[in-house]
Symmetry: C2
Subunit: 285 residues, 2 copies
């Protein structure tokens, strides 16, 4: 009964509703300036871009539109990464299934095909999206491969000259960005997340929170590396592992990470992507 | 930047995100079988019906479509009353403003006009909606005025024969149903709620929770009367008043009401309606 766009939006909303996800905003944890209500509003604002993805894309335009809408709240950047993951998946869903099909099972192959077919225009849309979240600056550092994302819309001439598609851009940062890695490796961790959520029992938000913790314990979060450093990210991974094994209290961990400003955002984005795949595959809420 | 449909959906989602609202599901309180995630999913499912309302209606069809979509989750009836209130308000917004207008201030007159123009078809849509939430039964009691809502879609011949519009149907139960009362009194409490939320400061969900408590202290909740009795509803009102005055702890009250199965749902619906009016009027999140 829910459309592809409905499930894409629901994935964003269920992700932030899942608690506890140590260090991230969820329905029981927030920062003074970045609150649960900002994520809810971001999920509503992203809707029209997600609808565009759910009619087949193009990925870059749909992504930029979703980010423009997501930004229409005062908390700032709420779901950039989650939308980045969900957009090509929604495009893949639209290309392989009809809204009337239920379930609409997605495969890594469907998703990879969408990535393989991305164009330079899609890359331009991706860079433009950074304008909406205040990442673009007037004078970013020099770059030789893919332009620095801080170029924002100004990256367009370089992207066109070098004929860089969105896939090319993602491939360049795949080893330092867990979301870019998903684009080039068949959304491996996203699909694994979907499976963990689908196979669980009980409330969906509890299952998603558990899947988050398992993923956080399995691999370092690249957003924590970017915001802090590799050492902090490795500490986060180990303590998530300890929480899984019952040696740390997960609620205390959540409070501490919020306190220290540690947000394993990439892992949360994987939860959103996983929820979308699971919902399309027939997960009941 | 948000459309009328966006704000209608956002109103539903922010209502359930507002905590504490003693006795109601919110992001920190839920029942085992009726959880926060069901309301989030209900708010996503209602989207297409709300979009219909946001293009001008008709009220009855838009309402039925929103309820059909809302019901696509396993928690059951999550936001019937909230949608009942938001639907004519969204139609009023669409008839007086364009999505490009910001803000799009609504007045009680706009809303009353929509109610005055409802037709027998709108009444039929309203009755049909009950089919989706399992209220309709094969053999409801006899009725002389407006048909019992348990007739569901079967009420259609009687509605047509007696030429009852949605306004007529609401007028008949206005003295026992706080939402029907809103339809016939210019959405008085809804607009008052919008004002309280808009005039407040701090997080929107905190303001909405405070406005809920004030409204609960001011008038008995008709849903509590229906589910329990007048005495219980009056107790709820007095204890909300005590919580406002600091003589009761609002969190304890929330826990107790959940425990006793007391859900002041009508007052929560007014919060959703109030949030929609406030968002259309330019409330920032």
């Amino acid at each position: 009964m829910r459309s592809i766009a409905d499930n894409a939006q629901l994935a964003l909303l269920l992700e932030v509703s899942s608690t506890p996800k140590p260090g991230n905003v969820d329905r029981e944890h927030e920062y003074e300036d970045l609150r649960f209500e900002h994520f809810i509003t971001g999920g509503v604002g992203a809707r029209r871009g997600l609808e565009r993805a759910a009619t087949g894309g193009p990925v870059g335009d749909a992504f930029e539109q979703a980010i423009a809408g997501m930004s229409g709240q005062s908390g700032g950047n709420t779901q950039f990464g989650a939308v980045l993951l969900v957009t090509p998946l929604a495009v893949a869903a639209a290309r392989t299934h009809d809204d009337a099909d239920l379930p609409r099972p997605l495969t890594p192959e469907h998703a990879s095909e969408v990535v393989a077919e991305t164009t330079v225009d899609d890359a331009v849309g991706f860079y433009r999206a950074f304008e909406h979240v205040g990442v673009a600056v007037d004078d970013p550092p020099e770059d030789l491969g893919a332009p620095d994302v801080r170029h924002g819309a100004d990256a367009e001439p370089a992207l066109r000259e070098r004929e860089l598609t969105l896939e090319d851009v993602m491939a360049e940062s795949a080893d330092i960005d867990g979301l870019a890695a998903e684009y080039v490796n068949g959304f491996e961790r996203t699909f694994a997340m979907a499976e963990r959520i689908s196979d669980g029992t009980g409330p969906v938000t509890d299952r998603a929170a558990r899947a988050f913790l398992e993923a956080l314990a399995a691999e370092i979060d690249t957003f924590v590396v970017t915001q802090h450093d590799h050492e902090t990210a490795e500490e986060v991974r180990q303590r998530a592992q300890a929480a899984l094994e019952g040696d740390e209290d997960v609620s205390d961990l959540a409070a501490e990470f919020v306190e220290r400003g540690i947000n394993p955002g990439t892992t949360a984005d994987l939860v959103a992507g996983g929820l979308f795949v699971a919902l399309e595959g027939g997960l009941e809420v």
